[in-house]
């Protein structure tokens, strides 16, 4: 059984699942989950064989090309991990035949995209999963329509930019397979190279949600059905990272642009992309801090982390590339875990607004633990895996001497403490609202995937060398140096660190605090009304859990910041105005004017063409 069979099976399974769901949604969803888990296990454990297939024609000159290079395998495993975990997770949530059909298309398209070996195959399968995910986003919530239109507009900008790049490539270089383009692009003129790489870059920016094409993320991720947000954020944006890796490392853009001016050792074009990534980090972090809805907050966190990935992969070099790839893995897991935790909370409480909840740590401890580990990973604190990727990226930034980008990266890390803490405090800590007194933890089916992601995050934090070795294999396949690792030690430019040692220190610290906590006197639980009042009388219980507009001073700082979401709607208005103008010119009310236009056109063109 080959990858092709798997792909065809996923595509064919989609209408079958739809038909099954018409009778019994549970069976259909169960079958879908089984298919995804099986795909993941199959790919993860048998991949890396470097086989490639060329299949049935798209047009006369172009065929679908699939392959399993280490790069394909790496991205496929990550994406399939997230999709399979989500597939298990979504079992108790609202089901429908339409949703499972679209989910089937999304996963089949994603599978085809990550195993592609040429740009057109990548684009076609990516498009399939994009239009399916568009219709899926609007399935549950009323407000999702306006947001999804923004996604349509930006996704189409990206897609057509890539389509342009593909045919331009075909015209100038004669091929669109990754390996062939890599061999030939070095010999093309600078103009051709720039056009190709920038158009492909626009697609990356659009799909990963990086400044300035990040405005669709907030709305789409937050208004998507709860079970689909982990897939959107954790899997689909990572296909953009796949394309970015191909552009920057496989092609590779450093060698190509080495004729252009170089800034601190990085070609100008790469630096421009990295800059966009850096701005994205800052914008994402600041906007996330200001959000009141948990899903919108995590959506902006995705903007920020996509910025990290773009920055790291654009800068290039041993450590940034390894760090960027590791960040793809980390962010996929952490983002999916965060969205799952919020979905779990929403499943029980019916809301995602943070100020409507509180104190859920007692009622939903596993969800809390999942969310906690995920945010520790996003903030980049050992012993979770997030620390490793960020550390590697910092190494490269420092070596290359890039102060602005380093500032942006550090700002992102520190700022992320702020915004990840907001849902934690708002949802899990603080006072339990009376109506939530009877909440229970989510069903076992939802607990399992959350736990798996948490354990994986911690595992790769304790033993990152396991992940780094795999990443070394990936980077080696495109000719980049490997990061030196031993069993527990990672060596880089400014030093080395031993992950087991760090974990041990953390564990010791944890146990000391635990010991103190257990030996100290237990807190006495008192009622809210049992309070010191200095002679005054208490009649109502006060809310001491301040979670609404938690960062009001910070908010005020950025109140006047211009919103980029407006530019898309004003663009749309301008197009409508242009439409009105064109209608007035070319479709006037009087038929005499039509005829007049026709005669003018004929005479004018005769004069032109003669």
């Amino acid at each position: 059984m080959s990858i092709l069979t798997l792909l065809v099976a996923s595509l064919l399974a989609t209408p079958i699942l739809y038909l099954i769901a018409k009778f019994n949604t549970k069976i259909a969803y169960g079958a879908y989950a089984v298919l995804q888990v099986f795909s993941f296990i199959y790919v993860f454990f048998t991949g890396r064989s470097n086989v490639s297939y060329e299949v049935i024609g798209i047009t006369e000159r172009l065929n679908f090309n699939f392959g399993i290079t280490p790069t394909n395998w790496f991205f496929a495993s990550i994406v399939l991990l997230i999709i399979s975990m989500s597939a298990i997770f979504m079992f108790p949530l609202k089901k429908s035949p339409v949703k499972i059909f679209l989910l089937g298309l999304v996963s089949a398209g994603t599978l085809g995209a990550v195993f592609s070996q040429d740009f057109l195959t990548l684009m076609i399968f990516w498009e399939i999963s994009t239009w399916a995910s568009l219709i899926l986003i609007i399935q549950d919530k009323e407000k999702s329509l306006k947001e999804a239109i923004k996604y349509v507009a930006i996704a189409s900008i990206g897609t057509y930019s890539m389509l342009f790049a593909i045919f331009y490539m075909l015209d100038k270089l004669g091929s669109i397979e990754f390996s062939t383009v890599a061999a030939r692009i070095g010999g093309a003129t600078a103009e051709v190279q720039l056009v190709i790489l920038i158009s492909l870059g626009v697609m990356v920016l659009a799909k990963m949600g990086v400044f300035p094409l990040h405005i669709w993320l907030r709305g789409s991720h937050s208004s998507a059905p709860d079970e689909f947000s982990p897939i959107l954020s954790g899997a689909l944006t990572k296909i953009g990272a796949f394309l970015l890796f191909i552009i920057t490392s496989a092609l590779p853009s450093f060698m190509i642009f080495s004729k252009l001016p170089v800034f601190n050792g990085i070609p100008v074009v790469n630096y421009a992309f990295a800059l966009l990534g850096g701005i994205s980090i800052v914008v994402g972090t600041v906007m996330a801090i200001r959000m009141e809805d948990a899903k919108e907050l995590i959506a902006f966190s995705t903007v920020s982390n996509s910025g990290y990935i773009v920055m790291a992969l654009s800068i290039g070099g041993t450590y940034a590339t390894a760090g960027g790839l590791m960040h793809v893995l980390n962010h996929a897991m952490a983002s999916a875990a965060m969205f799952m935790a919020i979905a779990a909370v929403a499943y029980r409480t019916g809301t995602t607004k943070m100020h409507e909840m509180g104190g859920l740590i007692l009622k939903m401890p596993v969800t809390f633990a999942t969310y906690l580990v995920a945010i520790i990973s996003i903030a980049g604190i050992p012993p979770t895996s997030g620390f490793v990727s960020k550390w590697l990226i910092y190494q490269q930034l420092v070596q290359n001497g890039l102060p602005f980008l380093a500032f942006a990266a550090f700002f992102g890390s520190i700022g992320s403490f702020m915004y990840v803490f907001k849902p934690l405090a708002g949802i899990f800590l603080g006072q339990l609202k009376p109506r939530h007194r009877n909440l229970k933890e989510v069903p076992f089916v939802m607990v399992v995937p959350m736990t798996i992601l948490t354990l994986l995050t911690v595992f790769w934090g304790i033993l990152p060398s396991n992940a780094i070795k795999t990443i070394n294999a990936v980077t080696a396949s495109v000719g980049i140096n490997a990061v030196e690792v031993t069993f527990s030690r990672i060596v880089a430019l400014t030093g080395e660190w031993d992950s087991i040692l760090v974990t041990t220190v953390f564990a010791i610290g944890f146990f000391i605090s635990l010991f103190i906590f257990m030996r100290a006197k237990k807190a006495r639980q008192v009622d809210l009304m049992d309070n010191y009042t200095a002679g005054d009388f208490l009649y109502t219980s006060e809310l001491y859990h301040f979670s609404y507009r938690m960062y009001r001073p910070f908010d005020r700082l950025f109140e006047k910041w211009p919103s980029m979401e407006d530019w898309l709607s004003s663009l749309s208005d301008k197009i409508k105005e242009l439409g009105a103008l064109l209608k007035a010119i070319f479709y006037p009310a009087n038929p005499q004017l039509y005829i007049g236009l026709a005669i003018v056109a004929i005479i004018g063109t005769f004069w032109w063409l003669r």
Partner: protein
Amino acid sequence: MNPVWLIAVPLALAFISTFANRISNWLLFLSAIFNAVAGIFLSFSSGTASYSIGGWRSPFGIDLIVTDATRILLPVANILFFFAVIIHLSKKRALEKFSVVYTISLASLNGILLTNDLFNLFVFLEIAGVAAYLLAMTGKEGESKVAAFKYLLLGSVGSLLYLLGVAVLYAAAGTLNISAIATKVSDGLLNGDVMLVSSLLMIAGLGVESKLVPFNGWVPGVFTKSSNMATLVLASVYPVAMISTFSRVILAVGDRRALDLVIVLGVATVLIGEVIAFKQRNLRSTLAYSSIAQSGLAIFLVGIGTVEALTASVMLIINNALAKFVLFSVDSYTTEELGADDLESLYGLGRMAPVAGLIFTVSALSISGMPLFLGFRAKLLAISSSFESLLVVPIVILLAAAIEITYYFRWIFALYRPYKGEERARLSLPLELMAIGVVLAAILVFLGSSSHETLMAFSKAGNAMVDAIITLGKNLIGGV
């Protein structure tokens, strides 16, 4: 089988209908079935074939030409006409007065697709035009008559310009046979200025029906105001004949410089159509402007003139015909049931009438060119061939495509919008509409996801568009 039957039978039955009013509907049905079946038989053979009419040998007489392109386009046009008749046959009242007109339009469309003579083409264009003007005024409101009148004015001027172009060319070439003239053109026997003038006049004339800017002022009014069956026939069957004939004639007898004009006008049509469509608030107008844009897309490829471009053009014509048929049918159905077709009225339609929502979505996605559908294959080829000319062309086309996707998704989202209010009653499509819609949608998906071999027919058609007429001409001249 001599294809002249495809023209003769509907024409004869139409004449009979004028005397026997009561059975005119059945005669329409009969001619539609006959043409559909005959069209399918025509597609079984291959290669280029020419048939003389009345025993006069070409290039002195009129002859009909059947190329590989005709073998795809003619059956599609006839079958879609047949489907339109089936769907609307039950509404006897609407059809009654106009069934003669429909029968004549069927005859004339077949004539346009088959003829190889310029003046004969003019005759059939006039017949089809008159039928179209009458169909355009079938709408219920007074505005439909006004729109039809505008169409009449513009169409008459257009056909007169075309006639002038034909006259100029006849005077220069000495024959009216398209293949013969094509041979003379390719041998360089005709004066350049004469060719240019006649080409421009013919582009103007044919451009009126082919919805080319700036000759397409009639489209929005006619498409939005006429009756349901009329719009269906005018929007999905007429373009197949008109655009392919435009391509055939201009490629055969047109001046090479005029092809640049065709590219410019085609691209302008696409951009203008999509931008105006973006601002429309109700579905019918959106589809009307989208039809304009799709015509522009098919036509600018003619200007590029390579085999790949013409293949893409044929695929786009077919895609537009099938998808617009479904879209306009669903739209007219919902307008009847719900009273209006603006964004708010269509909310949640996908859940009220799931089959309608599904076929609508499939057709809309195919027109906007999403993978898994025929429209994607067509667009891919179109963009690939657009790189043959200036770089501005693909950029503008892609920009227009981005706008197109956005507004089509707006409609798809409206269909699948989750409910806020109370559940609305389930709508059920009439059986014929459901069956035909599902078949057409399935064809779009099948052609979109099948391997390259299945689409060989389109490549042959593209090849035929470029070469067949001239080749026939060379054989003719050689023989005579």
